[in-house]
């Protein structure tokens, strides 16, 4: 059956959306037919999540119309979308851990199994039947969800959505934490759903996958559709080109030094973090060097950064700092070795939200301003003043609550806090996320200044332009391993994109 002959289920016409004056979707025209699998791809920030939020009623478009089975409708809420037959499946996000698989599958539909008392045995029986028919591996529905692997949870989440007989199922990166075999299981289920007439739209970064399973692919870049085609008519490298290839403006990045010192400040030898599937990490960080680490969501770079600060632990392998072997038991320990870390989730892990700017600034260096366990007020004031001046932190006074500051200024406070600890190794995870362009520029200048003073920096970022602009070299991670290193002329968006997607340089066809 050719999908061209099928009816159109959803049609987006001229959809645009802006957030605070920033346009994130421009005139999107898109169609998905009944029983069609459509892959939506693009870099982080291209607008994919926004688009599916609009289709599923979580957000409202600013202009344009969406036609559901030919009828223009505004999806005013997720509830309404569900009634329309549109279901969004996030990653394992709606299962109740202590309940059994069966109980989760029919959560909300218990009335099918009785009025006052639930016919539990029957519920479990039917659930097992559904699972046996649709899932390729053995799964006892009596097991509690908490005992399932992430892959199994993902599959159950999808099965649960499907039991509601949706017309359109939207999957947001369903495979990002799955192994190849688990992905295959997932895909068999999706194909089954497709045969049953359900349309599927899924977001992915893995190009191989979309060739295996989708009928159509749509590429978003900076809020525009740059390619919309049937999968048979396109090649991988065309997709990659459609995703990247911006004009590179190098003005906001300071000049890179010609040469990097040979002195190795940090060495990881065969590092592994078993729980997080990080394998064979070998890394040499030189004095005054800025190393960028690129990778898609969940490829191990986050865990690597955190393992270097003692938040995760290396299960095997050695770490050497200035030639001496160390064990990073905890952040306090890492700090003793002059390592500093800025996490990606500012709100959750970077600042103490309701504390003042000043108190946040001195948080990591209380020892420096205390005497016999008591904070000396004069030293505290001096330290705060210095910190605010050094990075030009814009705040009416250091007494105000830090969450009243802009994202960029909050980030500067965090930087200032860590710089006070005089680190030799500075690890940054998404250092300019949610930061305005002016502050970004300041941060890049700051990083280069620190590097010139001899501090070694590791930046983990999903912003490829940033990595290309600021790093002396770029390492790419995929599936928990280091898959490539790029410097100089080779550090292009396209090459990074290739490595990031798990391709190798030789086969880019």
């Amino acid at each position: 059956m050719r999908s061209d002959s099928k009816k159109i289920l959803i049609k987006c016409e001229n959809i645009s959306k802006s957030f605070f004056g920033n346009k994130v979707l421009h005139n999107i025209d898109l169609e998905c037919r009944v029983g069609e699998i459509l892959a939506l791809i693009g870099e982080n920030g291209a607008g994919k999540s926004t688009l599916i939020n609009i289709i599923s009623g979580n957000l409202q478009a600013d202009n344009g119309t969406i036609y559901y089975s030919g009828i223009p409708k505004k999806m005013l809420s997720p509830q309404q979308a569900r009634e329309e037959g549109i279901v969004v499946v996030h990653q394992q996000l709606s299962l109740i851990p202590e309940l059994s698989v069966a109980e989760n599958l029919f959560l909300g539909q218990e009335s099918k199994f009785g009025g006052l008392f639930i016919r539990n045995k029957e519920l479990h029986f039917i659930a097992q039947k559904e699972v046996n028919e649709n899932v390729k591996f053995n799964l006892d529905v009596r097991k509690t969800v908490s005992s399932l692997s992430p892959a199994e949870k993902q599959i159950i989440e999808i099965l649960k959505a499907w039991l509601n007989k949706p017309k359109l199922m939207i999957l947001d990166e369903p495979t990002s934490s799955l192994s190849l075999e688990e992905v295959n299981h997932l895909f068999s289920l999706l194909l089954k759903l497709k045969e049953g007439g359900t349309s599927i739209v899924f977001i992915t970064h893995r190009l191989d996958e979309l060739f295996t399973i989708s009928d159509k692919v749509v590429v978003l870049k900076d809020g525009f559709i740059t390619k919309k085609t049937s999968v048979k008519d396109v090649k991988k490298n065309e997709l990659i080109s459609a995703m990247v290839g911006r004009k590179f403006s190098s003005e906001i990045f300071p000049q890179r030094p010609k040469e990097i010192s040979n002195e190795v400040v940090l060495k990881i030898n065969n590092g592994n973090v078993k729980e997080k599937k990080l394998r064979n990490i070998n890394l040499d960080l030189h004095k005054g060097e800025i190393v960028g680490i690129a990778g898609l969501e969940g490829q191990g770079q986050r865990d690597l950064a955190r393992a270097l600060f003692g938040i995760e632990k290396f299960s095997s392998g050695e770490v050497y700092i200035f030639g001496k072997q160390v064990k990073l038991f905890s952040p306090a320990h890492a700090m003793k070795h002059r390592i500093a870390f800025i996490p990606d989730d500012r709100d959750l892990e970077g600042i103490v939200k309701y504390m003042s700017v000043g108190d946040n600034l001195i948080l990591a260096t209380l020892n420096q301003i205390s005497h016999m366990g008591i904070i000396r007020n004069s030293k505290k004031i001096e330290s705060i003043k210095k910190g605010m001046k050094q990075l030009s932190i814009k705040a009416d006074s250091p007494q105000i609550e830090i969450n009243h500051l802009s994202g960029g200024n909050q980030q500067k406070v965090i930087f200032s806090k860590w710089i006070k600890t005089r680190p030799m190794i500075f690890i940054l995870h998404e250092p300019t996320r949610g930061v305005d362009i002016e502050t970004k520029e300041e941060i890049y200048k700051l990083l280069r200044k620190l590097a010139n003073e001899g501090i070694s920096i590791i930046i983990v970022s999903s912003d490829m332009i940033e990595l290309i602009g600021i790093s002396d070299r770029i390492i790419v991670m995929y599936e928990g391993e280091l898959v490539g290193e790029l410097f100089g002329k080779n550090a292009t968006e396209e090459k990074i994109m290739i490595l990031i997607s798990g391709e190798t340089m030789e086969n880019d066809s």
């Binding site: 709606s94 109740i96 309940l99 069966a102 109980e103 909300g108 218990e110 539990n120 479990h124």
Partner: protein, 310 residues
């Protein structure tokens, strides 16, 4: 073949029942008095109030909350019953007592859901209010319970007695509600993961308020039993019930934060607590040590449960 929460709670209840069996055997062998029918009835009467309050506490804790006011609601019920039954008639007074217990529960639930007050704080507040009301009604223990009622509660034939029947009746009713109905299933969901429960469209406010209402109602019933037992009303009779009920629930296998556990374990927990007091008496040990022992048991039970690290 058991599925779902029925099965899971049994595994969790094994430790407490093991200890009960051990203690029963030890008691039977070690003490002549333990083997008497009289002692058995003693235990049952003691268990009755604790078990009934603990049943209510189980519902609240499974849904992720906690009720510290149970003891004082119990006391308030005893005061109302003993003081007003002569003026207003026995059955109307009983009815009012139950309604007040229910209302306090609804207030607790409302406080947690609509006012956003953490349950520990909210129920602490109602605990204090209930205590105040009890003391206003009965500044000193007193009042009276109709003799007929006393005789009825005291009547024993063989192993059966009214308190026992009440425990079994309420126990099975709660069991059915929690483990076999949609309402019960949703209680587990809310306790397990409130955010996800919400995502699944589960009516959190309604269910939470109902859980506290049930708890309040059961505390009132327990208050009636207690007041019959002492043939009077006493504003301070409920002091140990908050701790006891929480201990019973936790050692019976229900998780502190809710989401897993059940009625079977709680009944075991209540029985265990009653047996401890009984044992101490038989052994001639100072009954005040029971507080120390209960505290230790609670610590041990919780220490065993915390597998998830930070």
């Amino acid at each position: 073949m058991l599925e779902g929460s029925l099965k899971r709670q049994i595994n969790l209840a094994i430790p407490v029942y093991t200890i009960i069996i051990i203690m029963t055997v030890a008691g039977a062998i070690g003490s002549e008095y333990f083997r008497t029918l009289n002692n058995y009835h003693n235990i049952i009467y003691r268990v009755a109030a604790i078990a009934i309050v603990s049943l209510g506490q189980t519902v609240v804790m499974l849904a992720g909350g906690i009720d510290l006011s149970v003891g004082n609601v119990l006391a308030l019920s005893s005061c109302i019953l003993a003081t007003y039954n002569t003026s207003f008639g026995l059955f109307p007074t009983i009815l009012v007592t139950l309604i007040i217990g229910l209302l306090i529960g609804v207030i607790n639930g409302f406080g947690e859901t609509k006012l956003g007050v953490p349950p520990m704080v909210m129920t602490l507040a109602t605990m204090s209010i209930a205590k105040g009301l009890s003391l206003l009604i009965r500044p000193t223990p007193g009042g009276s319970i109709p003799y007929g009622m006393y005789k009825f509660f005291d009547y024993k034939w063989g192993l059966l007695s009214f308190p026992l029947i009440l425990i079994l009746l309420l126990g099975s009713t709660l069991f059915l509600i929690i483990h076999c109905t949609k309402f019960g299933r949703y209680i587990f969901c809310i306790g397990g993961n409130k955010l996800n429960a919400k995502k699944n469209g589960i009516p959190i406010v309604k269910i939470k308020i109902t859980s506290y209402a049930i708890c309040g109602l059961l505390a009132a019933i327990a208050g009636i039993i207690m007041s019959v037992r002492i043939s009077s009303g006493d504003a301070l009779i409920g002091e140990t019930f908050a701790l006891d009920s929480i201990t019973a629930v936790v050692i019976g296998g229900t998780a502190m934060m809710g989401g897993e556990g059940g009625i079977v374990g709680t009944l075991g927990g209540a029985l265990l607590i009653a047996m401890i007091s009984n044992f101490l008496n038989l052994l001639g040990i100072n009954p005040m040590t029971q507080y120390i022992i209960k505290g230790l048991i609670l610590v041990i039970a919780l220490a065993g449960k915390v597998k998830k690290s930070d």
